[in-house]
């Protein structure tokens, strides 16, 4: 795996976070991923992926503990410009790779 490349799960988390905008944290991300994948997604795996993405500078996180009294604490996620650039590159690469393949793929 190239150093800059995204793992499939990381890509999925980034896309979900992008879609959720300011409301992105693990719960809606998991729900979003489960909605599209149609299977259970591990919340811990999402948490770990977020941490890895943060280490790589692809997301920033913010702790919201205003609900501490009630026990509610959330870590919100926001994509960095670098993440958006990487997503664009990934999308473009995939588009180029997919170009003209639909016909071959669907023919069975």
């Amino acid at each position: 795996m190239a150093p800059g490349a995204l793992q499939p799960f990381e890509l999925q988390v980034l896309l979900a976070a992008l879609r959720l905008g300011d409301e992105a944290y693990s719960v809606p991300i998991v729900i979003e991923l489960e909605k599209h994948a149609g299977r259970r997604v591990s919340q811990a795996a999402v948490f770990i992926a977020i941490r890895r993405l943060e280490t790589r500078g692809l997301v920033t996180t913010r702790l919201d503990d205003r609900g501490t009294e009630t026990g509610r604490v959330r870590r919100y996620v926001r994509l960095t410009p670098e993440a958006k650039r990487l997503l664009r590159e990934t999308r473009d690469l995939q588009a180029r790779l997919w170009h003209g393949l639909d016909r071959l793929l669907d023919r069975g």
Partner: protein, 877 residues
Amino acid sequence: MRRLLKWFLPEDDLRAFESEQSELHDARRVRDGERPAARGRRADRRSLVMRLAADRLRGSGPAPTPGDGRRAGATDRLGQIARDLRHSTRSLLRTPGLAITIVLTVGLGLGATTAMVSLIRAVVVSPLPYRDPDRLVLVRTQDGDNLFNLSVADYQALDAQQTSFTAVAASQQVSVTVAINGVVERQRARVVTPSYFPLLGLAPIAGRLLVPSDQHAGGRAVVLNAPYWRTRFGGDPGVIGAAVTIDGAPHDVVGVLAQTNGPLEQDIALFEVADWPTPQRKGPFFLTVLASVRTSVPRQVAAAELAAIDRRMFPIWQSSYQDDRATWAMVDLKSRIVGTAGEPLWLVCAGVAGVLLIACVNAASLLVARTLQRRRELAVRVALGASRGQIVRSLLSESTVLVGAAATLATAVALGAVRVVTAFGAGYIPRIDEVRVAGPALWWLAGLTSLCVVVIGVLPAWSGSSLGRGAGLDVGGRTMSEGPAGKRTRRMLVAAEFAVATPLVIAAALIIASLDRLLHVDVGMDRQHVITASISLPAAQYPAAAARGFWERTRASLAAEPGVSDVAFADSRPPVDANNINNFDLEDRPTQPGDHQPVCPWIAVTQEFFKTTGLALVHGRLFDQRDFASTAPPVILVDRAWARRFFGTDDAVGRRLHEGGCAACPWTTVIGEVATVKYLGLETPDDGTVYQPIDDSERDRFVLVSSTGPASILGPTLGAAVHALDPNLAVSRIATIDDLASASIATPRYLSVLVGAFALTALLLSVVGIYGVMAHFVTRHARDIGIRLALGGAPDRVGRMVVASGLKVVLAGVSVGLVTALFFTRWMASVLFGVAPTDVPTFVGVPTVMILVAVMACLLPARRAAQVDPAAILRDG
């Protein structure tokens, strides 16, 4: 997964995770059309439990908040280390067998090494506990290779003329009979000049020490040694001024010497003031002379002055001493006291250190195996974002926990070992009373412990950290096997164990072979049927005629006892108690100018000696009544070794010599030749012994009694018979010749047990190591073996392959060990007897046995490999 998350996420993330997890739970229920779970107290409780768990994992105290600065960073790091250590402890407790094996083997090794270091430090390294210990020397007479004591004439001349020493002191160790309140006992005493105590810097605890005026008061002043004062007088200060009877003469206690750990005071009950008569001739040479070299005087200058004083004295005493080659020499007091004790100690230390090294290597090997087994867990951790540093740190913390526990055990082992050694080694090891496990020894333990952490921890940590990121997750648990690097590491470690164990086992084999040779040395006398004891007659009650009468009565009384066949007296006994070593000049082979006169043990015996000890006459005749008359011409008997040494196959009977080199004395004639007996130790080559008729007024004698049955039962009879004649006499050192021979080889026996035990441990650990590696090999390769068998491979061949694979490791280790042993054993020459340090049978036999044992250890896994059921393996695969 959640447990692992707790391990890697910071506190804030953990809180968020826990909270969001609960939220997700509800969100899913809502999505799936269920009612959300009741929130509130339950969630709070879970949150609290999680937080407590997180706190416990982190260590103690509240979680750091961002922006707490450097202090928070340091706290976090400490918390992380504490968390690592706790996690390691818990993880190790799940594999108690492994943890106990490592803690026990490393702990014993560390403890024994610490004990040996304490011992060597006290005995060999540390200075003597006296004033200016580095400047203390013994002044001795040197005649060629022989060093012996000074005489009274020598000491007086030295004391009067020397300028190189701050002081000189003479002393003589004697055995005395002390009578206090009707109780009579033999005690060791030291007759000393008053300069003795200030020279060594010794002080009294009560009363005073000896002063010059005591010498002129009839030599009645005595100083008690502190241990004797405590045991015999209950530490009563009122003893000062009390009278005690020593050798039948009254003495006055003037003081008590303060407790010292000094080797010169050990086992000494009391100190008598020296009152030697003015010498009429140069000899006899019985004084131990101590001196302290002045700071301003170089050793060479002091040595030159000693030689000059000796030369000036020579003409004065020439009529009684003609050996102009003899001179005075200085011998460092410490090296004289320590003697050759250092070498066996270093040898044992090397053995202990070897065992420790093997224990560490074994531990490292076990931990590498464990790391490889945990490859999947580590890979998950890496996948979860653990850095290489975190993995290394957590693996190192495991070895730290193990070695920490081992060090605790080691402290107890070291303290115990030193107690055992001081209790049992007192007779063989000098300065044993100075041994302590304290200060420097504990620093040494700390240093060694750190080194063990490195030795034990680095390889597993390295092998753990080098696992490819994520690689462990790619493979399924069953087919997962350690990589070639891991396998190589473990095999190398086991080879290293054999490389260390081989020289140790060879050393032990050499020492045991040497002991075996010593056990088979012929003392020259009947060992089972002769019993001996020491009797000393006080000069005050036994003038010459009385002594003569007493010896005759004792002989008659003992001879009448049932079971006694013969009774004799001598001034020496085999195999180490030679009372007198004399020089002589042969008529047929006079000493050439510039050469030293020959010397040999000179044993004074009664007429019955040869019959009592069963010593056979080879040639000539034995002593008869005429030879003991004071007017009789001097005659001697010699042993075969003496005859062979000087006259080869020629007849020694009839030859003449001048005893003590005294040219003016009448010739002494050899009248017979008897069988050879050892008087200078079993390990000493036979250089000949001379027997002369005993002076019948001699007061210090050994009585020798031969028995019809085993002599050991005659011990009480011997004591009772002498007490019946004089209840004030002490009979001491009762022992059969067999007891004496055994006691004389106690040091080699002690050494062979110690080194043998270490070698056995080393071998055992190495064998366990090779077994572990091969068993692991078979488990990991069960699938390959199954396929091989399924494809038609013969089970025997599979078994052979496993043994061959193990054998390669062992052969590599043993070969390196053999080369090491060749260098190592050279250093042992001084502790070996009758065995060369490069003894070929040992160097061939030991590796053969080691390889055989290793093959046996490999056979079990090999059998298991051959019995692998290919169908089962392939079905499961």
